[in-house]
């Protein structure tokens, strides 16, 4: 287990990169604490897999250094860095049994058979694979294969970090729940440093203590799931996290009031904003209250998705989403109000601090 420092990492897949646009990864400078559970979240092409491969050593960055516990490992291969990685599509050695698969990384490192048997036994127990020990890995289901991939990392008690590259892509929804919670438990028990790459916000938020949101080769926000949900630093984070994403409405700010069409929305405190910036407020559907008071609303569609209802509507001519609890109804002449604690103010897409002491 180790602390991982990324020092001014930049990477381009082109041999002679000049402009910023040539870089798949633009300047990442960040530390991963020993024993932390991190998620790298972003749409495809945002550079998250590039960053993961730089950490694992499958890729050498064009610029910058990678440090494991202060030691420079930039030039080291994956085996030299002693990390484990679980890939999107399960990788198992077809001709080997489950036991042999898990023993493989140990045997490669010349560990004695008695020790191999003990460690593999423990790992299989942990992952509930014991019943399959003697089975050929090839014919198992995707979720078991993915457990084997994970097991090949866990079996090495000294791994510096375990990296995951969208590991639940091919897993059925029910099995996802099991694997996710099992992974979380393993992290709690053994405290490996884990980095998990995904485009799926649910996976990222539920797995990680700290989520790193990436967009177009840059980190746009690092925070706890709660921070990302409540206080997105950038409108992209507001849109990308949450389902449906945050409503972003153009406003004109005047002291402690935001004017949206003919409506006035109170802000937590007065802010000074230069007049040539684009100002917007962000409000999550969860904080849009539908009732008989507030701004008049035209409901265009009501989607019953079981445990809640999604209200799609227009407010002052702009599309807006709201969420209603199961069993709640939309009144005949619906009006909307915004819960003040859910209002965020954005200037040129970046969040403006409106709270004191934060």
């Amino acid at each position: 287990m180790a602390r991982i420092d990324l020092e001014h990492i930049r990477h381009s897949y082109l041999p002679a990169a000049t402009s910023d646009a040539d870089y798949a990864l633009k300047e990442v400078h960040h530390s991963w604490q020993d024993g932390g559970a991190y998620a790298l979240l972003g749409p495809s092409g945002c550079g998250k897999t590039t960053l993961l491969n730089i950490i694992s050593g499958l890729l050498t960055p064009s610029h910058g250094r990678v440090l494991f516990d202060g030691r420079d490992v930039t030039g080291l291969s994956p085996e030299g860095r002693n990390i484990a990685q679980v890939f999107q599509f399960p990788v198992v050695y077809d001709t080997m049994t489950v036991f042999q698969n898990l023993a493989f990384p140990l045997r490669n490192r010349g560990i004695g058979e008695a020790e191999v048997a003990r460690r593999v036994g423990e790992t299989m127990e942990m992952l509930e694979l014991t019943a399959f020990a003697g089975r050929r890995a090839q014919r198992l289901t995707a979720d078991l294969k993915q457990k084997i991939s994970l097991g090949r990392g866990l079996v090495r008690s000294d791994v510096n970090a375990i990296l995951f590259d969208e590991p639940l892509t091919v897993i059925d929804p029910h099995m996802k729940w099991q694997l996710r919670s099992q992974l979380k438990l393993l992290h709690r028990q053994f405290g490996h440093t884990m980095v998990y790459v995904t485009h799926d916000q649910t996976e990222a938020l539920t797995f990680a203590d700290t989520v790193v949101v990436m967009y177009e080769g840059e980190i746009v926000q690092i925070g706890t799931p709660e921070q990302l949900f409540e206080r997105p630093r950038h409108t992209f984070v507001g849109y990308f996290i949450g389902s449906p994403g945050m409503n972003v409405l153009p406003v004109e700010v005047d002291g402690a009031t935001a004017r949206f069409g003919s409506q006035s929305i109170g802000l937590p405190r007065a802010v000074e904003i230069a007049h040539d910036v684009r100002t917007e407020i962000g409000i999550r559907p969860e904080y849009v209250r539908i009732g008989t008071r507030g701004m008049p609303l035209v409901v265009t569609k009501l989607e019953d998705i079981g445990r809640q209802k999604i209200v799609r509507a227009t407010l002052e001519g702009r599309a807006i989403c709201a969420i209603l609890a199961e069993g709640a109804e939309v009144p005949a002449h619906p009006r909307a109000s915004f819960d003040p604690k859910g209002i965020n103010l954005y200037a040129d897409s970046w969040r403006v601090e409106t709270e004191d002491g934060r």
Binding site: S56, L58, S77, P78, E79, I83, A84, Q85, F87, Q88, F89, V91, Y93, D94, T95, M96, F104, P105, N108, R109, Q138, R139, S149, R152, G153
Partner: protein, 287 residues
């Protein structure tokens, strides 16, 4: 499971079926017919039952040819399969050199059989041939028309030159289909090159290698043109393989019954060996 059902498809296949009937089934039945009859010309035939078969199976000439045939096929398989895999492994996985390598590899396959034989014949000539002359210059007493060992060496070398490319192309296709994640996982697991080959590349190449072995087996078992052009089966009977022996019997000695019986035995043998190979190599394989 993915079979598409459509009545009209059969009409499309019909011309091919007719063609196959004409150039495979009908000749085969003719051969079966010959193999159980005696003829003295003038289209006179007498039924002989299994006499020809007994004669062939008991003849030492057939045993010798058969032994030579297995020795030859075994030798070239043992050389061509490992060599082909080795070359495929050494080829670049991406970049501009891929197409250059592929074209170079495909070249020998484009040359007609008899031309290959003639080429090597000239090449191996002890006096003016590039190979023959060089070997003699090196002080090796090389003469493929006189010394059986040299004849064998030349034929095997020729076949390896001609056909290893096929194994290379098949093995390369198999290697290319392995996702990068496997190699990456193996690196992370600390696997040696040998382990990567043994546990990833070889299992993933299994299907294409089965096809390569079957193709090379069938093809070399029927080899005729190249040794015919190169050595004509000599010196003596040193390179008289089954096909050459068969043609000698049928055309050289006009022993139609014997030749037909040999053809049938020979056909059944190829079929049997292929089946054994296929079952062995596919055993335990996921369908």
């Amino acid at each position: 499971m993915t079979r598409t059902w459509n009545n009209r498809a059969w009409f499309m296949v019909f011309p091919v079926l007719a063609l196959v009937a004409f150039n495979a089934i009908i000749p085969l039945m003719t051969v079966v017919n010959y193999s159980v009859q005696e003829t003295f010309g003038n289209n006179l035939f007498f039924f002989e039952g299994v006499k020809w078969y007994e004669e062939v199976l008991a003849s030492s000439r057939f045993h010798a040819a058969l032994w030579r045939q297995f020795l030859f096929t075994g030798t070239i398989l043992l050389i061509e399969i490992p060599l082909g895999v080795a070359i495929a492994l050494a080829m670049p996985r991406s970049g501009p050199w891929v197409s250059v390598c592929l074209v170079l590899m495909a070249l020998p396959l484009l040359i007609p059989w008899n031309v290959v034989g003639a080429m090597w014949n000239i090449m191996a000539l002890p006096d003016i041939g590039l190979l023959g002359h060089t070997l003699r210059q090196l002080g090796i007493d090389y003469n493929f028309t006189r010394q059986p060992g040299d004849a064998w060496f030349t034929i095997v070398l020729m076949d390896v030159w001609h056909w290893t490319s096929l194994v290379v192309l098949l093995a390369y296709a198999g290697l290319r289909s392995i996702p990068d994640a496997y190699y990456q996982a193996a690196r992370i697991d600390g696997a040696s090159h040998w382990s990567v080959f043994r546990y990833i590349q070889l299992p993933k190449m299994r299907r294409v290698l089965t096809i390569a072995v079957l193709l090379r087996f069938m093809d070399s078992f029927m080899i005729y043109t190249e040794p015919f052009v190169l050595t004509g089966g000599g010196p003596g009977n040193a390179t008289t393989f089954l096909s050459i022996d068969l043609v000698k019997a049928a055309l050289g000695e006009f022993n139609l019954g014997i030749a037909a019986a040999m053809s049938i035995i020979y056909f059944l043998m190829t079929l049997l060996v292929c089946w054994i190979f296929y079952t062995l190599m596919m055993r335990g394989q996921d369908q």
